[in-house]
Chain length 197, copies 2
DNA sequence: GTCTATACTCAGATAGAC
DNA sequence: GTCTATCTGAGTATAGAC
């Protein structure tokens, strides 16, 4: 399992706690993960955890902020490299699949944790910058006449709902082949549904 | 807010507790809902709750079992009324949208609660009968040559992932128009993606 | 079946030495 | 910055009267 925080500019013990939090929050859930669990998994003591993070909620927030920040950077890089709508869509899908296979815990935490339940003030995920970016790619395609005139949320649901659904099936163990094998079939199918005719 | 348990053959106080559990588990989450919360919301005492349900987990299981049983009955009725693949797909989507608008808490609890976290032995939702039924509709359509040859999980992700995504956007408040308004546009688009050519 | 009062557990958080 | 020891309170579940 790749360590997502390896290269970040964070103190060593913070990194270990964040990584343990990521793993345990995904595998057991936030509320089933006690501070003693984090101590045992990370090898960092209670005192040090509370020295680095105000409380358990703040730990989760820090984790989420770091993950989303990394995602934003990845997306920006990707959109800079591809400027055409279909290319962008295809490579976003590819990147989502790669992320899922390289950092399954990261994807599970971002996509499927019930953030509101343990971070009461967080904004809904679907209003976050990465999700807005996904939609904006389709919006631009629509303005250029490459995507048919249809409700943006509907187009978005087709284009990304299908990708996210396959990712979930994969993470839940119902689609065990490598996701990349389905990349072309899935993106082409979704594109048929939304492309201008 | 419609009460889902109105007509069920369950004692009155059980019904009240189940309804409160549904509402509170969805609005605050399972772990943020204490027994005192359930007492305050349902008007049923701690003692009576524990008389009716072994413990909090068993309450959640009973709730989930009742919801899934109702869903199975609805699906069976619907499939008996429509025998052609496209018809079945369209009416399943319609029913999912109707369920979401009539019983949003029910849909949220079924689709978006992290069941595993508070019911450790439950099977994954995507392996449950209702989800298998959704896939089997596409499988039959494929055998009859009405749906193109493609991986079943991919077809499924397109057909239902898009519907579930729009439902999620709606429940999260990003798509506020009535779902029914998007029914035709969404199902037709998804069908373009998967129909045989 | 329904209720009130209460026991027990353990997680979250702090204090304070090193 | 790191640790151990400890406190406190919330929350689950039970006992036992009605």
């Amino acid at each position: 399992m790749a360590n997502f925080f390896e290269e970040s500019d964070i103190s060593a013990s913070k990194k270990r706690v964040l990584n343990s939090a990521l793993v345990l929050f995904v595998e057991k859930g936030f509320f089933n993960t006690s501070i003693p669990d984090l101590v045992a998994h990370s090898g960092v003591s209670t005192g040090s955890i509370y020295h680095a993070f105000k409380d358990k909620e703040h730990l989760a927030r820090t984790l989420m902020d770091l993950l989303l920040a990394k995602v934003e950077v990845d997306q920006a890089t990707l959109l800079a490299a591809h400027r055409e709508c279909w290319q962008r869509y295809y490579h976003l899908a590819k990147w989502l699949f790669e992320m899922t296979e390289t950092f399954p815990h990261v994807m599970q935490f971002i996509l499927y944790a019930r953030h509101r339940e343990f971070m009461p003030t967080i904004q809904p995920l679907c209003s976050s910058k990465p999700f807005m970016t996904l939609r904006s790619v389709l919006e631009q395609g629509q303005q250029l006449g490459q995507i048919r005139e249809m409700d943006l949320m509907v187009a978005s649901s087709i284009a990304y709902g299908s990708i996210l659904r396959l990712i979930q099936l994969h993470l839940d163990g119902l689609a065990h082949e490598p996701l990349q094998e389905h990349l072309d079939e899935l993106t082409c199918a979704a594109w048929r549904a939304i492309k201008a005719d």
